[in-house]
Amino acid sequence: MASTSNSTSSKIITLRSSDGEVFEVEESVALESNLIRRMMEDDCANNIIPLPNVTAPIFYLVIEHCKKHAEMKDNKEKKKELRSQGEELLKSDPHTYSNLMEAVNYLDIKSLMDLTAQWLADFLKGKSPRLIRELLKIKNDFTPEEEAEILERNRWAFD
């Protein structure tokens, strides 16, 4: 599923993930990434574009999201579907979700960045610090004193 060419007219861009897998992506999809766009504009993308910070499974996720995002622009159903998929991933595997966000940020895909960050923000909405830690599998590294200090400072908002 690395190849996404189904139209003869559009140009195909070849990209290589950090673990060496080669992807062929339609130019229109690849240009969603400002990073790739800049590389192409600077003409330093004659052959295969290396993406040293993105692994193959994550890049596959990014491409999938990019395509769905392009489809959902005028389709509410797709929008819902993409959102629920994102939330599902966030719940089941927050680490992969974080990697996805990191890759999206690195590739500088503004629309997808907004989307994934907003999903996460919606997911965290109204949750207690403890619940956030549990759900995102984050370790509480505060000393009791530090915790008490922040607690005291923000007490008005939670009492």
């Binding site: 927050p94 680490h95 974080s98 990697n99 996805l100 966000m101 990191e102 940020n105 960045m113 994934t116 960050a117 907003q118 996460l120 923000a121 965290l124 909405k125 109204g126 949750k127 207690s128 610090p129 403890r130 619940l131 956030i132 830690r133 549990e134 995102l136 599998k137 984050i138 370790k139 509480n140 590294d141 505060f142 009791p144 530090e146 915790e147 922040i150 607690l151 923000n154 007490r155 008005w156 908002a157 939670f158 009492d159």
Partner: protein, 428 residues
């Protein structure tokens, strides 16, 4: 007496009323159901109670035996008075039970801060209403409502600081992925304050990055808690970069508090204070005058819907302070539709000020358009369906005028057009 029974008694503390409403709704609904002979899911309306009520009803008629009323037929219209008395007496007791429930609820709140959790269930305080049957019923209720309490407990757990200490030791988590910090900018104020308490890297990001605080929007539930002092501290986190401040129905914010916030945030350009009832229009005009005369560029966008006592002089002064002429005001204005959360979304267009003169009553208020096609077509200003919410009653859901359509009145005295009511009913 029963009618005067204040539902507020069910709200244990001011700060916790959001949960109470839930409980309150539920109980009010159930109690009413019992009173009118509907099903009795928790077995509240025990037989003991009905008998007792019936006896009371019978007893009350005896002393009037010598009265002229006694000569009248006892039930001329076949209304089955004794049954009605029973129902009413039962209903009254239900209200008493509610005061009992208030006790339970208080206990539930106490559990929130106790270390032993919900499981600790002593019977102290139950005997307030006397009879053994009541206690039995309460226990029955206690069992059958366990699930309900659990869900309340969840909410409590989510929002409270209670017993966080045990989680201090850590757990099986790890350091957060840096990418997670990217979403902090998308969080609202309350969630940012929660995120600050998650771990060190979240805390450092929230505290050091003033960009998160460039735009501060306070609405429920923080709006009832935030005071002048807290607002000043919160806006201070922006380190002078605050650009947009929106306080929706923050009833504790005073003119003096707002003045101090304005003084320490010279870059503020957008100010929304809809429904902040403690702010006076005079104080606001003075604050704005002082602010716009010193700082650059000054407030350009002001939202004051829901403030009282705005006169024509105030309005004109504000317009001149905002550097807006009236033509610009109408050009930039998008159609505004009435909605129950209208105050939340009153600042999405670029027009300098939200209030205007109502075409019908000539007062300075928020003026709403009508989403109905046939109303939009009316060009004649006298017929135009455009006025404040006092002059034209509108549906809280879709904002249409309901003059000539069927409508329903909700429990909160809001109006719902027939279409929205049906839709809501189907959803439920």
């Amino acid at each position: 007496m029963a009618l005067n029974y204040s539902p507020c008694a069910m709200y244990p503390t001011e700060g916790d009323w959001a949960y109470s409403i839930r409980i309150g709704d539920r109980f009010v609904g159930d109690r009413m159901g019992n009173g009118f002979g509907m099903e009795d899911p928790y077995g509240f309306l025990g037989r003991d109670r009905v008998d007792e009520g019936g006896g009371g009803g019978g007893g009350s008629r005896e002393p009037i035996a010598n009265d002229i009323l006694d000569l009248l037929p006892s039930d001329p219209f076949g209304m089955d008075l004794s049954a009605t008395f029973t129902a009413i007496a039962g209903w009254l007791e239900d209200f008493e039970v509610e005061s009992g429930l208030n006790l339970i609820w208080n206990r539930a709140m106490a559990f929130g801060s106790s270390d032993n959790g919900v499981g600790e269930s002593s019977n102290t305080g139950w005997g307030l209403n006397g009879s053994g049957s009541f206690e039995e019923e309460m226990e029955m209720w206690d069992e059958s409502c366990d699930g309900e309490f659990e869900s309340v407990w969840d909410v409590e757990e989510i929002l409270s600081f209670g017993d966080e200490a045990e989680s201090c030791s850590g757990g099986d988590g790890e350091a957060p992925h840096d990418a997670l910090l990217l979403s902090l900018g998308y969080l609202e104020v309350q969630d940012l304050l929660s995120a600050e308490r998650v771990c060190r890297s979240f805390r450092d990001a929230v505290q050091s990055d003033s960009l998160f605080w460039r735009s501060i929007h306070i609405d429920q539930p923080l709006n009832e808690r935030i005071t002048d002092h807290e607002l000043l501290k919160l806006t201070g986190r922006a380190q002078g970069c605050l650009q947009s401040l929106c306080l929706v129905e923050c009833s504790r914010i005073t003119d003096d508090g707002l003045r101090r916030v304005l003084e320490s945030n010279p870059k503020l350009t957008k100010l929304s204070v809809p429904g902040c009832t403690r702010l006076s229009i005079g104080g606001l005009v003075n604050n704005l005058k002082a602010f716009n005369s010193t700082g650059l560029p000054g407030i350009k966008c002001l939202r004051i819907g829901g403030l009282y006592g705005i006169t024509q002089e105030h309005f004109e002064e504000l317009i001149s302070l905002l550097n807006a002429d009236k033509r610009q005001q109408t050009d930039a204005r998008k159609p505004r539709f009435f909605h129950s959360s209208h105050l939340l979304h009153s600042n999405d267009d670029e027009c300098p000020i939200d209030i205007e003169m109502c075409p019908k009553c000539q007062r300075l208020r928020l003026v709403y358009d009508c989403p109905v096609q046939s109303c939009q077509g009316k060009r004649n200003s006298a017929q135009q369906c455009r006025a404040c919410s006092f002059c034209i009653a509108r549906c809280v859901q879709c904002g249409r005028c309901i003059d000539d359509t069927e409508y329903e009145e909700t429990f909160c005295l809001d109006l719902l057009c027939w279409g929205c009511w049906k839709e809501l009913f189907q959803c439920q």
